[in-house]
């Protein structure tokens, strides 16, 4: 069975190679090849899953050692895969949602002449992401980590003819580099501390290592997670990443890649457990991002950017849960999976709306679309109910558990974190209701553009609606299936460990409080947007609204502090380089040249001078030899 693991990665990798090297002759069939290989990965994943379910909970992990990558004495890097319950969860999510989005893209990208290349990149992403979650050591994980970064870059900038897309891709790449540096430093620290970077030995050895070193490693891992998962302070790229085609936003920037940071923290759980200070930082990052993303999501009129703010916020929940330690790991992953379903569904819905609205993204120019695209309305609506945590739907179960766990952290911290999580739930309900109302309810607000083309909203083709329907099922039922009878908990517990948290108030109270804030949030949105006509041009808004529209000034902050500061730094370095370094170098060269010119004059061509020099030389030689004896 373990020999199948490599095939999980190999199938999409083969697709990427074939599609990217195959050239134009594959244009007609490229999307089918890409989709088939993604589905192939999913089927293998299901086979392995069924096999795994047949085994005893403690012995489910499979290992596959492919080859020795860099065998140097004392530095052993292997290409080896590990498939345990945590990896299995991700494999199914990635290949499952990935396959659906491949299908969706067949319709969505139908009129794009570079569709083959798009599928090549998607396959490349799948291969890299699967390698990331299947690696049995941090170095191979890093390969996947960089691979998904590359795929993300290529796909965000897929419509490279748009300057905004090219810039967004570059921005995502650069910000991610900061996080990647964190991961590479963490790996180096691991190597110097433990002498290896395989998961098993590293995580077992945490007991014998000083807390300071572990805290350093953990903080570097957190930096990596912040970059990849768009957490404060490396969150600024995610909003711009929405320049990519919508299936990309759904797959990479909502369901899978951006959750890699959560995977990294949960996978490295032992390190974080042994470094409580780092854990505290993780929870703070999660809590701050949770509010940050939610506030940004409230102010955006661009449907995809509103959803991007929501993604950021929901990953904030996961990071918060991961930072809580063993009481939160399982719930972080559970929310990750349910979020994968409903957020991918919401994005596909948004893509479907855009498809019918001539790629218009401004929600102020939508309105009343429920009658024009009923399937999209229903699936999007179910995703909406799931994300706000409507009782019985996926988000209800997974988010509720995280809020409980946050309170269960105990002490003042527990109250603060729990309060933030509750507040986040209220804001989530508010902004999602706003999106829902602006898009599907109210008057129709679209108008002909300057060329006189009026959008004719229509339902999308079947290749697009079917994935949306499938994901809607996931949005509705996944949470219930996971939570009832603690199935997901028992499934994941052997890998991540689990400790039952004890909230200071009863679980029922927390659930009720969640319901109350949900109603308050949604109700406020309804009052604001459902009962009044929507202005087509955005009002000026309050100071907070304006700041939130500008992503809470994140880019301004980066520009002033980092870009300007960096420019000053490089300018002064260039100055030092020009004056000091070049001065020393050129000065040395000049003085050598001068010395050479002087010494050269000794070579005057007269044999007599040469003889004198030899005579002097031998005299010194003898004198020096005698002197050596004397001393």
């Amino acid at each position: 069975m373990e020999n199948l693991i490599a095939l999980l990665v190999a199938a999409p990798l083969l697709g990427a190679v074939v599609l990217l090297c195959g050239g134009r002759r594959l244009d007609a069939v490229g999307h089918w090849i890409g989709t088939a290989l993604a589905a192939c990965s999913f089927v293998i994943g299901v086979v392995l899953f069924v096999d795994m379910l047949g085994k005893d909970a403690e012995h489910r992990a499979l290992m596959q050692h492919l080859f020795s990558w860099i065998p140097v004495e004392g530095f052993q890097a292997d290409v080896a895969f590990q498939l345990d319950q945590l990896s299995m969860t991700f494999v199914l999510l990635i290949s499952g949602v990935g396959s659906l989005i491949h299908v969706y893209s067949i319709g969505y990208m139908e009129h794009d002449e570079r569709r083959r290349r798009f599928f090549g990149y998607l396959n490349l992403f799948l291969a890299a992401m699967l390698m990331l979650v299947l690696a049995d050591n941090y170095l191979l994980l890093y390969v996947g980590w960089e691979g998904v970064g590359l795929a993300s870059y290529l796909l965000i900038g897929f419509w490279q003819h748009k300057p905004s897309a090219a810039t967004a891709a570059k921005k995502a790449f650069l910000v991610n580099r900061v996080g990647d540096m964190g991961l590479s430093i963490a790996i180096m620290l691991m190597f110097t501390t433990f002498g290896t970077f395989a998961f098993g030995p590293v995580l077992e050895a945490t007991g014998e290592t000083s807390e300071g070193k572990l805290t350093a490693i953990a903080l570097m891992l957190l930096l990596a997670a912040c970059g990849k998962s768009a957490q404060v302070p490396l969150q600024s790229w995610l909003g711009d990443a929405m320049e990519g085609p919508t299936p990309v936003s759904a797959l990479i920037h909502a369901a899978t890649m951006v959750t890699a940071g959560v995977y990294l923290i949960v996978r490295s759980g032992e390190i974080f457990n042994a470094a409580p200070d780092a854990q505290l930082v993780v929870t703070v990052v999660g809590a701050v991002t949770l509010l940050f993303g939610a506030i940004v999501g409230c102010a955006k009129d661009d449907i995809k950017k509103a959803l991007a703010g929501s993604t950021m916020s929901q990953i904030g929940y996961m990071i918060l849960a991961a930072g809580l330690g063993p009481i939160g790991y399982v719930f972080a992953i559970m929310h990750l999976v349910t979020h994968g379903f409903f957020k991918a569904g919401l994005f596909l819905g948004a893509g479907s709306v855009m498809h019918g609205m001539n790629d218009e993204v401004d929600m102020r120019k939508y309105g009343g679309l429920r009658t024009y695209m009923p399937v999209t309305f229903v699936t999007f609506g179910l995703g909406y109910l799931a994300i706000i945590g409507f009782p019985g739907l996926s988000g209800f179960f997974s988010k509720d558990k995280i809020i409980e766990a946050a309170f269960a952290k105990g002490g003042t911290e527990g109250w603060i974190l729990g309060g933030v999580a509750l507040l986040g739930a209220a804001i989530t309900a508010y902004y999602m209701t706003r999106v829902m109302l602006m898009t599907f309810f109210g008057e129709k607000r679209w108008q002909p553009d300057e060329n006189g083309n009026e959008p004719h909203p229509h339902e999308s083709p079947r290749s697009m609606t079917i994935p949306m329907i499938v994901l809607a099922f996931g949005s509705v039922f996944a949470g219930g299936i996971f939570a009832i009878g603690d199935r997901f908990l028992h499934w994941l517990e052997p890998v991540t460990e689990h400790a039952h948290g004890h909230p200071p108030v009863s679980a029922l109270t927390v659930t009720l409080a969640t319901m109350v804030v949900l109603v308050i949030g949604a109700g406020t949105a309804y009052v604001q947007y459902g009962r009044r006509p929507m202005p087509v041009v955005a009002p000026r808004g309050s100071l907070l609204t304006r700041a939130a529209r500008r992503d809470l000034l994140q880019d301004d902050f980066n520009h002033v502090v980092l870009v300007r500061g960096g420019e000053h730094l490089t300018r002064s370095l260039v100055y030092v380089d020009h004056t000091l370094v070049d001065g020393v170098v050129n000065g040395t060269a000049a003085s050598m040249g001068g010395l050479s010119g002087r010494l050269r004059k000794l070579q005057n061509g007269y044999a007599r001078s040469y003889a004198v020099s030899m005579f002097g030389g031998v005299a010194i030689l003898i004198a020096a030899t005698l002197l050596m004896r004397a001393v």
């Binding site: 050479s596 070579q603 044999a607 020099s613 030389g617 031998v618 030689l621 030899t625 050596m628």
Partner: protein, 549 residues
Amino acid sequence: MSASAVHSLWTTAADPISKIDAPKIEYGQLSPTLIVIGAAIVGILVEAFVPRKSRYYVQMFVSVVALTAAFAAVVGLATSGYGTTKAGIAAMGAIAVDGPALFLQGTILLAGLVGLFTFAERRLDPEAHGNRVDSFAAQAASVPGSDSEQAAVKAGFTTTEVFPLLLFAIGGMLIFPSANDLLTLFVALEVFSLPLYLLCALARRKRLMSQEAAVKYFLLGAFASAFTLFGIALLYGYAGSVSYGTIAQVVDGTVKDVNPALADTMGNDVLLLIGAAMIVMGLLFKVGAVPFHMWTPDVYQGAPTPVTGFMAAATKVAAFGALLRLLYVVLPGLRWDWRPVMMGIAVVTMLGGAVVAITQTDIKRLLAYSSIAHAGFILAGVIAMTPDGVSSVLFYLGAYSFVTIGAFAVVTLVRDAGGEATHLSKWAGLGRRSPLVAAVFAVFLLAFAGIPLTSGFAGKFAVFKAAAEGGAGTLVVVGVISSAIAAFFYIRVIVLMFFSEPRPDGPTVAVPSPLTMTAIGVGVAVTVVLGVAPQYFLDLANQAGVFVR
């Protein structure tokens, strides 16, 4: 001889005949030298008896056969264990047959063979009156610019005497590193020096410069020889013997017999120190170490380029071999005295050669200063005083000699109306006109600079490693600094060749015969092979690294 022995010579004169043993000569072990010297004598007879037209071919044949046979003899001796287990002293104590001797003899013979090919090249110079000519004067005895010179050129004369001269020089060089007493050392020195002085004077073009170089070389060489000879006399006074083994015993204080005639001076350390310094000075002159290097640039520039190439390679091998034997066999007991002094010389040699090379404008002078710097690097390995020191020097010498011959062979190809175009400004843009030749030269320059994947790197790494392990870390630091300085002017030539505009009056690159091509090809091959896979040859040098005493 003791006093009683002298007395018995007088009283028992009745049966002396049977007491005098014929000297025992191990012809087999001496065969490489005997073959080469014998062939040189045959070469002289060829000059006397063979018609002028066919001399060139006969001389070529004799020389190639002799060098090949001598190399085969060296290989035969080495494979039958004379380099290791059967190493010993032959010819009544005059010649050592051991690992270093055989390794160096093999290197000299191969370098000589490759050098011979460049001597024999006859396609580079334009034909003079329908006769193919080589790099050597038509008639050495004719005054430059005179009518007799004109007549000799018109008649198509060539100086085929260069072949026996080359063989004599090689013969002397074969003895030099294996000499096991001071007199043999001196004789060998003169045997290889005198032909070289003559060869330097034989350039076909720029004859006055060539003759000037030869006279300078001869005068200064004679001057240095005088010091050497004086040093030998002092050492004899000190030890009562010229044999390496005996002198070493006296230095160590383990000598048994004391010569009564020298009882006053024997063991006087002042004689030892001064004598040793003078002999070492003679050897340092031959390797071109600062401050005995002043002849090098002038002679390298004036001599016919094939001679320069051969001399730069083979003289260095022979002289370093002799220096190694002297320091490792005769004077190891004195190393606390000579090591600091030699370190000083190595430092000024490395730095001096590298620094002065920066401002050179003539490619042959540039290579001359580069050879001085390399002499400094090799000295660093000599000073290590460890077995690794010996083997690293052996390896370096082997690697360096083929690069040198190849580089000078390339210099012979770049020509304009006045013969070889050696001024650096004329080499501008060579890479655009003749990419292959320029690329080959670039390979040699990179090897000189010690860039990895060339033999120069492997050699430099070996000597620096040996020096560091032998406790001469300072030398390594200086060595690396001067390598950095040296890299500047090597790379500058590469930049000049590939990144400058060619000059309209620039030189042409002559198409050589297979002879020079072989010389260059061997140079490139050795450079790359020793650079990429040096281990086999390092092992070989390691096995050959033990001197017999």
